[in-house]
């Protein structure tokens, strides 16, 4: 039974989506119950997988392998669950659970088939985290992209359709590049199984090695488009800002799929064991690309004029930081980067949900994003009169929902900027500290400095946004907020708070995950047992 648990993250949302399609759009209560049940089940399964992965010892084979149809790995296709996969599964299911109330609230009525698409998106995400060969990675990418096209357009309206169209064209082109890369790799090595590839790459003849590298680089570009590396990421802020908040929160996880694949393939195929010609192939590109991405994200964030775009550029900064850290390929930095990945994803998802609650409840065509008014320090005599007026003004009472939103916004800002006392600081520290100790690559110090500068600029941008939203315009009317929607944000932020207090066990787990990633032998032996162990 426990061995079949590994396929549950794919089967559960697939079944839920199919049942929801059968139930139809009218029976909303049934559909909502199915979604909730599926998300809760996914959290449970992911927790079980995580605990199973954490419980195993350091030396034994810690990679759970599920052979579909029980064909051995070289012939059949496999699902592979190791510590990193389990972590990503838990992350995606928790964010889905938190995004669900917002989706059930006011967004479900704006279009058809929101919930089935949401489940298909989850299925694609989970499949991409679990699959053990390149072509199934493509298939699951297409599943999650097809669902995301529908979700990005959910609610319709000119702004959304226009942004969604750019998103679709960019990602269809990226899928073509993905296929080209996959077929080049297959042409050179004759296999698409990741473990078999890791075994084969050191022995590829010099004549065809350039072709293999070209294939891997084309694949890499497809993933870098997903992660929005500069200059491939101009589509991201606009699309994310135009999407429904629940969808944008899920998209924050979707960006991390690219990071996951780069981390997995970069270390498995082009790690230390890949021979002198291929080891660390492309790592410098990731490092410098990450640095450029952080700069682009910071510039965009400081110039952002609405809260959705602001959050979108935070996604870009988070991607850039992770790309740079992944490019360094040092176990200690990787462990810190995983912590940062978790915290920044939770924080950005919460920020998108907060932005969604703050947005005015307009009609279909009105722009849903909350625009930030330009700051006017001069020519404001009226204001200064107000400021120094006699203190006979009536006392303002802050209603509870606004207070909750304000607290949540502040917590998001602290998490994303990486300021103490919340866990954003711990994660950034865990990532940055080993950069200075370990043998450095040129560019490490630039990355170190830029991550800190980006944190500072995040403080500036989010402070300014917070002042304009909560303080400057006292007559702003906040929309009605449901308890469940606030509860979802509280869930995400509470998790981050919990990770501030409970630090040692998660960091140990991430350390073990990073060590496992940097030791491809573990993965390869798990998928392709050595000859004497084969039945």
């Amino acid at each position: 039974m426990s061995q079949h648990l590994l396929i549950a993250p794919i089967v559960v949302p697939l079944l839920a989506a199919a049942l929801q399609l059968l139930a139809g759009e009218r029976r909303q209560r049934l559909v909502a119950t199915l979604s909730m049940a599926s998300c809760l089940a996914l959290v449970g399964v992911a927790t079980a997988l995580l605990l199973a992965a954490a419980g195993q010892g350091g030396d034994t084979v810690t990679t759970a392998v599920y052979r579909l149809g029980d064909w051995p790995a070289r012939f059949g296709i496999v699902l592979v669950g190791d510590r990193l996969s389990a972590l990503m599964l838990l992350l995606s299911s928790v964010v889905a659970l938190a995004a669900l109330p917002a989706a059930l609230g006011r967004w479900q009525q704006r279009g058809n088939y929101f919930q089935p698409l949401f489940q298909f998106l989850l299925m694609g995400l989970n499949g991409a985290f679990l699959t053990g060969d390149l072509f199934n990675l493509f298939v699951f990418f297409e599943v999650l992209l097809a669902a995301s096209y529908g979700l990005a357009l959910h609610g319709s309206g000119a702004r959304r359709v226009s942004a969604g169209m750019h998103y679709i064209v960019v990602n269809l082109t990226a899928s073509m590049l993905f296929l080209l890369g996959v077929s080049l790799v297959f042409g050179v090595t004759g296999t698409l199984n990741m473990a078999a590839l890791a075994e084969l790459i050191p022995t590829v003849p010099e004549k065809t090695r350039a072709l293999l590298h070209a294939g891997a680089a084309i694949l890499g570009i497809a993933f870098l488009i997903k992660t929005a590396m500069w200059p491939l990421g101009f589509w991201l802020p606009r699309t994310y800002a135009a999407s429904a908040p629940a969808v944008a929160a899920m998209f924050a996880v979707m960006t991390k799929v690219g990071i996951y694949v780069l981390l997995r393939l970069g270390l498995l195929l082009f790690g230390d064991g890949a021979g002198p010609a291929s080891s660390h192939f492309g790592a410098d590109w990731l490092l410098w690309g990450g640095i450029a991405t952080i700069v682009a994200g910071v510039v965009g964030m400081l110039g952002a004029r609405d809260l959705g775009k602001l959050a979108g550029y935070n996604v870009v900064i988070s991607s850039g930081t992770l790309l740079g850290a992944v490019g360094l390929q040092q176990p200690a930095v990787t462990a810190g980067a995983l912590a940062y990945l978790v915290i920044s994803t939770l924080g950005i998802a919460a920020l998108f949900l907060v932005a969604g609650l703050l947005a005015p409840e307009g009609e279909e065509e009105a722009d849903d994003a909350l625009a930030l008014e330009p700051y006017e320090p001069v020519g404001s005599e009226v204001r200064s009169d107000d400021l120094y007026a006699d203190e006979d003004e009536s006392r303002t009472v802050i209603p509870a929902p606004v207070a909750m939103l304000g607290v949540s916004f502040t917590a998001c800002a602290l998490l994303l900027a990486g300021l103490p006392p919340l866990s954003g600081f711990l994660a950034k520290f865990a990532m940055l500290a080993p950069m200075l100790e370990a043998p450095t690559r040129p560019g490490t110090h630039a990355l170190f400095a830029l991550v800190i500068i980006a944190g500072f600029c995040t403080v500036i941008a989010l402070c300014r946004a917070g002042i304009q939203i909560f303080w400057a315009e006292t007559d702003r009317r906040f929309p009605q907020v449901r308890v469940t929607e606030i509860g979802a944000i509280a869930l995400l932020l509470g998790l981050c708070l919990l990770l501030t207090v409970v630090v040692q066990a998660p960091l140990d787990y991430l350390d073990a995950a990073a060590r496992q990633l940097h030791d491809p032998g573990n993965y390869v032996h798990g998928v392709l047992p050595p000859a004497e162990m084969r039945p």
């Binding site: 097809a146 529908g150 226009s162 080209l180």
Partner: protein
């Protein structure tokens, strides 16, 4: 035959890329279609070009030289299906955008800044 196929793929990719960069949505979708044809041909060709070879080995004695690799054919089939579905979806978005904006520019405007 290799040369003909290589030239065909090159021409398809070149014209597809040019069309992808055009400002009208219809040109973009035709460009996407051409590029996906090129990619499908490319996948098909990576197993090696052989005429009249069986996709599955009949007798082991014939050796591996006389058979065509079936895996690229399976891959290309999947790629065709997925590409077709996503292109159809894009067509719907294109028509929606045309209906909402009243023109077929990719940015939704009439092309003037």
């Amino acid at each position: 035959m290799e040369l003909v196929l290589a030239i065909a793929i090159g021409v398809l990719v070149a014209s597809g890329t040019w069309l992808l960069l055009r400002p009208r949505t219809f040109q973009v979708i035709i460009g996407l279609t051409l590029v996906s044809y090129a990619v499908n041909l490319f996948i098909f060709s990576i197993g090696g070009l052989r005429t009249g070879a069986d996709p599955v080995l009949r007798k082991a004695a014939d050796g591996i030289a006389q058979y065509a690799d079936p895996l690229p054919q399976a891959l290309v089939l999947t790629a065709i299906v997925i590409g077709f579905a996503t292109t159809a979806l894009f067509l719907v978005v294109l028509l929606t955008s045309r209906g909402l904006n009243g023109n077929d520019h990719v940015d939704g405007g009439d092309g003037t800044p």
